[in-house]
């Protein structure tokens, strides 16, 4: 459990990250706004509260690890890393420019705080298995958090990894499924329907929690519960809204990797600023 002040702080972080997304993607270039905004609150809680890490020392031996298996949502991770001081927020607008430290998908050699090259979907959970078992070999009391998309669950390798983690009882691993229900071309349920998720993960030997992926308290509570689960990995199924926070992008497959018009960009900034107002008032009061 966390206090009201912390909840506000994390909501504020997520709101800043969503504004960063609009600035980073800008006008005329495609950007994965949808799946980044659905994961924004989860990523904010992980970096802003849950994981042990040190932005000034990204390779700190005592850190937990956070992997974006749905690597196309790297931009929400970049926003969090910049807001927390891994690198300057000024870097954010260089996204995908030639020579930028911020690549279209996560790159360990270019971006401080990135733990593995992901982006070819379905591989992050396997990589997380390796990281979690390395922690056990090294007798480290750390955890690996892996964020997957529900569209990504169509990749067979996810289930190889899920089966392995269940069989090996990898209990320092938490998978968070950002179930926004929409993949690049439309509704997940109308393609390779990955539902029902809780039954599937349970059958593979995981402890399963279901939450509203935009509710800070629920995200924190689920992550705290995962700490108490021993002898099996934990899967948190987070019900989310693709493009959450931006009227033109919410629940729109077109904004899986969409291009904003000038008008949408301005609207996005306006909506992001509106979401930030309450925190500015709080700051003024304080």
């Amino acid at each position: 459990m966390i206090g009201k002040k912390k909840v506000t702080e994390l909501r504020h972080l997520a709101a800043k990250m969503r504004r960063d997304i609009i600035l980073m993607v800008g006008v005329g270039q495609a950007g994965h706004i949808g799946g980044s905004c659905s994961a924004a609150d989860i990523v904010a809680v992980l970096y802003g509260h849950k994981i042990k890490h040190d932005p000034k020392n990204p390779k700190w031996e005592g850190r937990d690890k956070l992997l974006m298996s749905k690597g196309h949502a790297a931009i929400i991770q970049y926003a969090a890393l910049a807001e927390l001081g891994y690198f300057s927020t000024v870097e954010l607008v260089t996204l995908k420019k030639l020579g930028s430290i911020l690549q279209g998908h996560p790159d360990i050699h270019k971006t401080p705080g990135i733990e593995a090259n992901t982006g070819s979907l379905g591989q992050g959970l396997s990589i997380s298995n390796g990281m979690a078992l390395a922690m056990k070999l090294d007798r480290k009391d750390n955890k690996v958090y892996c964020i997957l998309g529900d569209g990504e669950l169509a990749e067979g390798q996810v289930w190889e990894a899920a089966m392995f983690a269940g069989a090996r009882k990898i209990d320092n691993l938490v998978a968070i499924i950002d179930q926004n229900g929409i993949s690049a071309m439309g509704r997940v349920a109308e393609r390779m329907n990955s539902n029902p998720l809780p039954e599937k993960w349970r059958a593979f030997g995981w402890h399963v929690l279901e939450i509203d992926g935009h509710n800070i308290e629920e995200i924190v509570a689920a992550l705290d519960t995962a700490d108490t689960i021993k002898g099996r990995p934990t899967a948190i199924i987070a019900h989310t809204i693709k493009g959450k926070g931006f009227s033109f992008a919410e629940n729109q497959a077109a904004f899986h990797n969409g291009i904003m018009t000038q008008a949408q960009y301005e609207l996005g900034l306006k909506e992001a600023d509106a979401a930030l107002v309450e925190f500015q008032l709080l700051e003024t009061e304080a």
């Binding site: 050699h109 070819s120 591989q123 992050g124 990589i127």
Partner: protein, 313 residues
């Protein structure tokens, strides 16, 4: 007296030796450990061995996770599955990330003679060669396999290594060393240059004996590192020769024949090759039978060399 030793046994024994020296060594296998011989490591270091089941993709990505956490991860399965089934995993996370994952391509080439085309790797070197950051080792015998495993562990970054299933001719001497990128001269000669690797070295040496009887002296060289390929060294060795012949248990596309052609692109020395001719393998009762069916024989190497040496300019 010629002796033969098993490279896959050398692979397993080398892993155990390394495991004793370096706690960072971990080994993964996809339900083939008694075939790849990583079982020897499993017996010696059960805590650092991961039986992954029949799931090569998960194995390769998990090795990436171990490697990015400071381990030196050896993944063992058949060459055809490592480079085919798990290609994307090797490319995306391991190679782009320059991670310390060593991929053992066991039962390489036609060496899984009985199992047929699905289990025989005729294109593994080609596939791996096209991936940036990848190093490819093609050791000539069991002793060199042992040294190559050690070199792979010491080399920072991804390595793919071919390991033969069957006993191959021992050619290294006790004091021989191994360095990634260095070719190995097995026989000196100045008329014909025979370039080869792995199981085909024995045939090249036999071809050299045949040629010698006809007054042609053949230099036999094992290209034990296919990447980085020694383009310059090979061009230098070819200088003054009457011809160069490559021999490999691999498709001529993307293997030793292709790389040598590139090495000799500015050379007037004629080149020919003996390789698998853009066809899949098939089952046979004996590896030699299969090699003969695909034309991979000492006689054919000698024939090609003779033709180059006697051709009118």
């Amino acid at each position: 007296m010629a002796t033969y030793s098993n490279p896959r046994m050398a692979y397993g024994e080398a892993l155990v030796e390394l495991g004793k020296e370096d706690p960072r060594i971990v080994v993964l296998d996809a339900d083939l450990c008694k075939s790849t011989m990583s079982v020897l490591f499993q017996d010696a270091f059960p805590d650092r061995f991961f039986e992954m089941g029949i799931a090569e993709a998960n194995m390769m990505s998990m090795a990436a996770g171990l490697a990015v956490s400071g381990k030196i991860a050896f993944t063992s399965t058949f060459a055809v599955f490592a480079t085919g089934r798990a290609y994307d995993q090797i490319r995306q996370t391991i190679s782009i990330g320059k991670l310390n994952v060593k991929v053992c391509g066991s039962s390489c080439g036609l060496s899984d003679f009985g199992d047929g085309s699905t289990h025989q790797s005729i294109e593994d070197v080609a596939i791996m060669s096209a991936i940036p950051n990848m190093t490819i080792l093609t050791p000539v015998d069991a002793a060199e396999t042992r040294l190559a495993v050690r070199a792979a562990a010491e080399h920072p970054g991804p390595v793919y290594m071919r390991v033969n299933r069957n006993p191959v001719l021992d050619v290294l001497t006790k004091d021989d060393t191994f360095k990634i990128g260095r070719h190995r001269v097995l026989r000196e000669g100045n008329d014909i240059l025979l370039l080869t690797h792995g199981v085909m070295v024995e045939k090249a040496l036999a071809a050299a004996v045949l040629l010698e009887k006809e007054g042609l002296s053949a230099k036999v060289v094992s290209i034990s590192t296919m990447k980085p390929f020694d383009y310059e060294g090979i061009a230098n060795m070819a200088r003054g020769m009457k011809g160069v012949v490559t021999a490999e248990e691999h498709s001529y596309i993307g293997g030793l024949a292709s790389a040598t052609a590139l090495a000799l692109r500015r050379s007037a020395v004629p080149l020919d090759y003996l390789a698998i001719n853009d066809v899949f393998g098939e089952s046979a009762h004996y590896p030699e039978q299969l090699q003969a069916a695909f034309g991979l024989t000492a006689d054919n190497i000698a024939n090609k060399a003779r033709k180059l040496a006697t051709a009118k300019p």
